[in-house]
């Protein structure tokens, strides 16, 4: 019973402290303490995560499961960065304390750790991010098929926004005087109308719903009504 009661009590107390700290100045230090505790827990849990990473990848390699070579690369990279980072190998000496090795800067690209981060890790993450452009195109291709009234409206709206974002928008409707009654038909005006009025209204409706959902969910957790995240063991 205590395995469930104590976590709920801690959650309830932490939740109430965080709410009170937002309104009462002297409770701010309490919320900072709660955050420090969370960071300590995270640090401990990181060891758990790293242990799990090792176990899973070692098991993959030993049983020669499909993709075991990737597991080997993961482990080599993990240990390399861990050792180089923890021991600050090749760190640029600190001018004030040149004889103290651990005072050196290991984040600069002149050190192995910084170099790996700058020239291996960053390009790899940028590559993954770059893939997004192609996925946006393929998702847009499917989403913008005129299948029904809603999708035709979506297609039309997207078309206006896309044209307005490019030079074609100005080329096609730029000749309409801005002070005329037909100025609303300019692509740039249509874009402003769609993004600042229609889109903002829809987005605010969603945001209000989200805020209410967050409040209700938080309350369910603080009151101990929702306990589904806890083990029943």
């Amino acid at each position: 019973m205590l395995q469930r009661t104590i976590p709920i009590a801690i959650l309830c107390l932490s939740g109430v402290i965080m709410i009170v700290a937002y309104f009462v100045s002297f409770a701010v230090s309490w919320s900072e303490t709660v955050n420090v505790w969370f960071n300590i827990l995270s640090a401990v849990a990181f060891v758990l995560g790293a242990g799990n990473l090792l176990a899973v990848n070692l098991e993959k390699i030993s049983s020669r499961r499909p993709g075991w070579a990737y597991a080997a690369i993961t482990l080599v990279s993990f240990f390399f960065m861990l050792v180089v980072g923890l021991l600050k190998l090749g760190a640029v000496p600190d001018p004030k304390n040149p004889l103290i090795h651990f005072a050196g800067d290991y984040e600069t690209s002149a050190s192995p750790y910084g170099w790996m981060y700058e020239y291996v890790f960053s390009p790899l993450t940028s590559t993954m991010f770059g893939l997004l452009a192609f996925y946006v195109a393929s998702a847009a291709f499917r989403a913008f098929r005129a299948k029904n009234v809603e999708s035709i409206l979506l297609l039309g709206t997207a078309f206006i926004i896309l044209i307005a974002q490019t030079a074609a928008g100005m080329f096609l409707t730029g000749w309409i005087p801005q002070d005329s009654v037909f100025a609303v038909l300019r692509f740039d005006s249509l874009k402003v109308g769609i993004t600042e009025h229609i889109q903002t209204a829809g987005m605010r409706a969603i945001t209000i719903g989200i805020a209410l959902g967050v409040a209700a969910t938080s309350l369910r957790l603080i009151l101990g009504i929702d306990k589904s995240y806890l083990s029943k063991n």
Binding site: C12, V16, I19, V20, Y22, F23, V24, S25, F26, F38, S42, A45, F46, L48, G49, A50, N52, L53, V56, E59, P66, G67, Y70, L124, T125, M128, F129, L131, L132, Y135, S138, A139, R142, A143, M203, I206, T207, I208, G209, I210, L212, G213, V214, A215, A216, T217, S218, L219, R220, I222, L223, G224, I225, D226, S228, Y229, L230, S231, K232, N233
Partner: protein, 317 residues
Amino acid sequence: MMREIRERSRSTMLLAATAAAAIAIPCCIALAEGAGDAATPAGAAVAASDSVVRTDRGPLAIAIVIVCGAVIGGIMLARTGRPLKIRRLAALDAVDEAIGRATEMGRSVLFVPGIQDMTDIQTVAGITILGRVAKTAAEYDAKLEVPTCRSIVMAAARDAVQAAHFEAGRPETYNEGNINYLTDEQFGYVAAVTGSMVRDKPAACFYMGAFYAESLLFAENGNSIGAIQIAGTAEPSQLPFFVAACDYTLIGEEFFAASAYLSGERDQLGSIKGQDFGKLLAVAAILIGCLLATVGVFAPEGAIAHAAETIKTTFGG
């Protein structure tokens, strides 16, 4: 029987005590705000941040009291035994179908609980939904894989899945090796998850939690392998991507209501009713505010324009 009554009364006392605290604290703040305003008519906002009570946040405190009061009222109402009618969510009705399909095809089910830590309420909501998905997967004897981006999320997911297996009456089928930590790095996580999607071809993919740029990468990969995809997030900027690429999407508040909806517990369903009441109040405030602001245009210095401004400050921040 006696134990049940004891537990129920203890739970009601806890609810009442916390409700009293939740309402009393912001009320004190609101009262203090009133006193502060009378004492310092000018420069109150500047001084507010330095005082013991943040009087500049008084309107928010009032809004919290209203919303929390509505949610607690909904829970209390549910406890009276009144029938609760909750709108069905297509995305949640499709959960059984998606897992059933995966079981028939002999493929796994993938659940991605977002990329944020347990400090994000979306992750907590995602883990709650994971419990239900895991229970169904356990009943169907389908393999459920949960790659996580944070160590604590992994621990929480393991607890939730284990609890689901116990609830399904199949504790022996629980395998904690299916719930793994990959990396904290956003795109490293994406690479690992999408790689496993392409290799293992799960038949059903669930994306429930906080997502950013990776949302479309997951959803498009899932689409390319022909998986049934059900997503839920409260990140407004990512919702269009999920709507475009997934079969079902829980939009914003639906995502938070889903955990309560899936539990089927009266208390949790009552909280959705309270949430709906809060929404009703928001709609009323918007309509009254619009009306007053429109009328106020004709008399900018009048009482109506002032009332419209007060509503805007109180509810609009």
